[in-house]
């Protein structure tokens, strides 16, 4: 039989020499150390790299100051990738938000069969981007692809989806929209279902049209959800790589090279890690600025409303 011994002669826990705050830090230390090892260290390492000529073929590295950043900002390939990135992000986000909201409104109604539709919507975001890229590469193939086969059946000329520079960027955007719109639908749908019924009923009693109800009541109430969705997707569009790489490898002629693809090409094909790191940090700064602006907008609204 076990005998319970007192923890301390006086029946109290010994007083720790550490304050509560210090104890907290101590307990969090293992997790913080892991975070530093797997997140902060590589980030800091690549930041340092961006100031050096970090060439695999060279035995030593040379400090260049801001030269890699200056080279990047004046390079035609970075110009092109930044332009592509802006078009890709703006068109994808706009399409996804508009389509996502429309589908969410439809799914929020009481039509039959919508439960199946909601379930099906989970499929695209669950597919690996690499698989989406490969599938769309075949769907857009001019000779064997489904889309051009349908166009031919309809008596229309085939579209050079991936070989024409303008269509290639559009094709990549289509693949991205296909995969990510359902995610926004689900977010908006969750938002719509939490909209309080009272203002909607009051609007109905006052005879407000559906459009006015949406514009004046639903949309303002959904604003926080829309901001969260936009933030998630902005981060995502600046990280997009797999779909583009598998569909076009950034081609033809850089027509679909996004910033991530540019960084990859510099690091793994040019073997120029200094410039690749500089490109990555410029992309990070751009996305942080966008985030900051997005955070600032609601605050401005609140200030002006007050």
């Amino acid at each position: 039989m076990a005998v319970a011994l007192p923890l301390h002669p006086r029946g109290r826990r010994p007083r720790s020499p550490l304050t509560t705050r210090q104890q907290g830090y101590l307990l969090a230390a293992p997790a913080l150390l892991i975070m530093i090892a797997i997140f902060v260290y590589p980030l800091a390492y690549s930041f340092v790299m961006s100031f050096f000529q970090w060439d695999l073929s060279a035995r030593s590295t040379t400090f260049l100051g801001l030269a890699n950043y200056a080279d990047t900002l004046t390079s035609p390939s970075f110009d092109q990738s930044l332009r592509n990135q802006i078009i890709f992000s703006v068109v994808s986000l706009t399409t996804e938000v508009v389509a996502g909201m429309s589908i969410a409104l439809l799914l929020n109604s009481k039509l039959r069969g919508l439960r199946i539709a909601r379930t099906l919507l989970l499929i695209p975001p669950m597919i690996a981007p690499a698989v989406v890229g490969l599938n769309f590469r075949w769907l857009f193939n001019t000779q064997y692809g489904l889309f051009d086969a349908l166009l031919r059946t309809a008596g229309l000329p085939p579209i050079p989806w991936l070989s024409d520079p303008n269509w290639a960027l559009a094709s990549v955007i289509i693949a991205d929209v296909w995969q990510n719109t359902p995610l926004l639908v689900l977010l908006f749908l969750a938002g719509l279902q939490s909209v309080p019924q009272e203002p909607l009923e009051a609007a109905a009693v006052d005879g407000a049209s559906a459009w006015r109800t949406f514009w004046e009541i639903i949309l303002p109430l959904l604003r926080p959800v829309i901001f969260v969705a936009l933030m998630l997707r902005i981060i995502d569009t600046f990280r997009t790589f797999d779909v583009v790489w598998l569909m076009t490898q950034g081609g033809p002629g850089g027509a679909t090279t996004l910033i991530t693809v540019n960084a990859y090409l510099l690091a793994f094909q040019s073997v120029d890690f200094g410039h690749a790191a500089a490109v990555s940090y410029i992309a990070l700064i751009i996305s942080l600025l966008l985030m900051g602006a997005l955070y600032g907008v609601p605050r401005l609204w609140r200030t002006s409303a007050a």
Binding site: S57, Q143, S163, D164, P252, Q269
Partner: protein, 428 residues
């Protein structure tokens, strides 16, 4: 019982077990005195895993050394090697590598000259050795496992039905391909994306009489010959329309599959294509094709490159790793690679033996291949040329997709190439 199962005891017990599980295998290995090396090897077709398994088992039986290896396809393999090289990693002792990227690894791979006798090195094909050697130091960065060059594969049944002969010149290639294009079929297929596009342009550049750099190593690919080469390349797709319009998105896989599916009647392809086209599982045109020499213009030069084996300069098991490399490039292993993959041996003595024992279509093909290799060349291995290659992918694709004229595209690339090579110290 309660005391025995206290939290402290459980925690200390499981910690001891974890430590023991980590340490025990090391002790066992040390006690067993088994030497093990690690290798990062190339794969790409269904037979590669079997090939490496055979070689590593043979090696273990011969030396008692276990080769623990990972396999990756060409592009991810290169990316991983670049990452490991940048991190100065000693994780792998042996690497599969290739002429195309060797310039990036001159300071990471151990020079191999000292480990092979002069007579042994002389047996390897000169073109393979030349482009695996650092031009600045004369050090051999890797030893070739096979030599890769391209020949013309054409649909003999279709050509015979049209009373056509395979093209020998650029002009004939257009005429013959035009005669065969139509009805959903194309006379020719060429790749137009990334490294394969650069290889194709490279062949055309040399055949037009141009070169990548001049005597002072300044970019010269935008010369009149370079512009002629890129214009011809673009015209095959857009002016003569004898190549599928999607070719600007094609790499070697698409190039081979277009011919193997029967959609296209002519292609310039690597030795492994021979095995793919002869296999009913991977080809719809078995028995319907033949080979011919690569086309020529002012010259008959085209790319000759090698898959090779390299030793990590940071390896702590260099002797064992070197033994494995020697085993992989041994005459017996090269013979096995030819039998399984139709890879052309890098040892001239083995190549001679393979050619002399071949018969019929295979003998004809090997003859064409030997000619291409004898005329073969590779782009220069100068500092910064890896970046020039990346620039060229974009430049060639821009011309092939009509975003820029060949002249403008090459001139812009030449300007950037000069800057990249200057920054990398090519002119120091």
């Amino acid at each position: 019982m309660v005391a025995r199962l206290s939290r402290r005891r459980i925690l200390s017990g499981s910690t001891a077990a974890m430590v023991a599980s980590g340490v025990a295998p090391r002790l066992t290995r040390a006690a067993g005195d088994v030497t093990e090396i690690r290798a990062l090897l190339i794969t790409g077709s269904a037979v590669y895993p079997k090939y490496w398994e055979t070689l590593t088992q043979q090696f273990k039986a011969k030396t008692g050394i276990t080769v623990s290896y990972d396999m990756l396809a060409f592009t991810p393999l290169t990316s991983k090697e670049v990452t490991l090289g940048a991190a100065r990693s000693s994780q792998y002792d042996v690497y599969s590598t290739h002429t195309a990227q060797i310039g990036s690894f001159f300071n990471y791979f151990e020079p191999l000259n000292q480990y092979f006798s002069a007579s042994e090195l002389a047996d390897f094909h000169p073109v393979a050795m030349k482009y695996l050697t650092d031009p600045k130091t004369g050090k051999l960065a890797a030893i070739p496992r096979n030599v890769d060059a391209r020949v013309q594969y054409y649909r003999k049944d279709v050509y015979d039905a049209h009373h056509l002969q395979p093209a020998k010149t650029w002009d004939e290639l257009v005429t013959v391909s035009q005669a065969l294009t139509g009805d959903g079929h194309y006379g020719l297929v060429v790749p137009g994306q990334g490294d394969p596009a650069q290889r194709t342009f490279s062949d055309l550049l040399w055949q037009a009489g141009g070169d990548w750099v001049d005597d002072k190593n300044l970019p010269s690919f935008n010369s009149a010959e370079g512009i002629q080469a890129l214009t011809y390349y673009r015209d095959l797709i857009h002016k003569y329309k004898v190549v599928p319009s999607d070719a600007v998105t094609y790499q070697w896989t698409e190039n081979t599959s277009e011919f193997a599916s029967g959609a296209v009647y002519d292609t310039f392809n690597w030795p492994s294509t021979y095995a793919i086209l002869a296999n009913p599982d991977t080809s719809k045109v078995v028995g319907k094709w033949a080979t011919a020499p690569y086309v020529r213009n002012k010259t008959a030069i085209s790319c000759a490159v090698s898959h090779a084996m390299a030793l990590n300069s940071l390896s702590k098991k260099k002797d064992a790793a070197l033994e494995f490399i020697k085993h992989v490039v041994s005459p017996d292993s090269q013979m096995l690679a030819f039998q399984q993959f139709t890879y052309f041996p890098s040892r001239q003595a083995v190549a001679k033996s393979v050619i002399s024992s071949a018969q019929g279509q295979q003998a004809e093909w090997l003859g064409h291949l030997q000619t291409t290799i004898d005329n073969g060349k590779e782009w220069p291995k100068l500092p910064g040329f890896s970046k020039v290659c990346t620039l060229m992918y974009g430049a060639i694709e821009r011309a092939l997709s009509n975003q820029m004229s060949p002249a403008d595209s090459l001139n812009q690339a030449a300007k950037e190439a000069h800057q990249a090579m200057q920054q990398a110290g090519a002119y120091n």
